[in-house]
Subunit: 113 residues, 2 copies
């Protein structure tokens, strides 16, 4: 649970930035080099590398170097950490709505007697 | 788009903290007072209030004061900002998979001739 929580902290934080979300969006269409991504973000390579490292250290992207080119690829499976958490909350809300339904239905049945 | 982006920044940032996620989880079961929530989080009221303000300013919760008690309530609709963004990415990935399918199928058909 504590590890899962730290993972969620990192993934949510990594996504709390427009440049990093743009990289996620771009890589959703296929792998790209760090150089190309930095140009598209209109950032210098050193500034952009900080974003790449944040995304990579939180598992949202993978990078691999071949010669002088570092290529980035999206790690789609990682997004389930956030999706699962959101789904867990929705389940909780729906369970509450079910409880309320049963309470209201039960109250109506009692009134029928 | 720029406003939507700032909203996403704030919501993702608000959720990047275990205390705030615990509050969201707790309020998913029904409204609660700030005092009760602070006790459950084992925090002093001033420290806890920072989290309440972050959640409120980013629209994830609503608070209302009645006498000396401030009650917090979850704003479930707000979570669609994150869910919509995640769904947008998935659609992009699936569109890419469809393109690849068509390419592979097309290549096979060409080989059949």
């Amino acid at each position: 649970m504590a590890q899962y929580s730290a993972e969620l902290d990192g993934v949510f934080l990594a996504l709390a930035d427009p440049t990093r979300r743009a990289v996620v969006h771009r890589l959703g269409q296929g792998p790209a080099s760090v150089g190309d991504l930095a140009r598209e973000a209109a950032m210098t390579l050193p500034s952009f590398m900080k974003h790449v490292r944040t995304l990579e250290s939180n598992g949202l992207i993978r990078t691999a170097k071949s010669g002088r080119v570092r290529t980035c690829e999206l790690n789609r499976e990682r997004f389930t950490v956030v999706e699962d958490w959101l789904e867990e909350q929705r389940r909780l809300w729906e369970a509450g709505a079910d409880r309320l339904d049963r309470f209201v239905t039960g109250a109506e049945e009692r009134n029928d007697v």
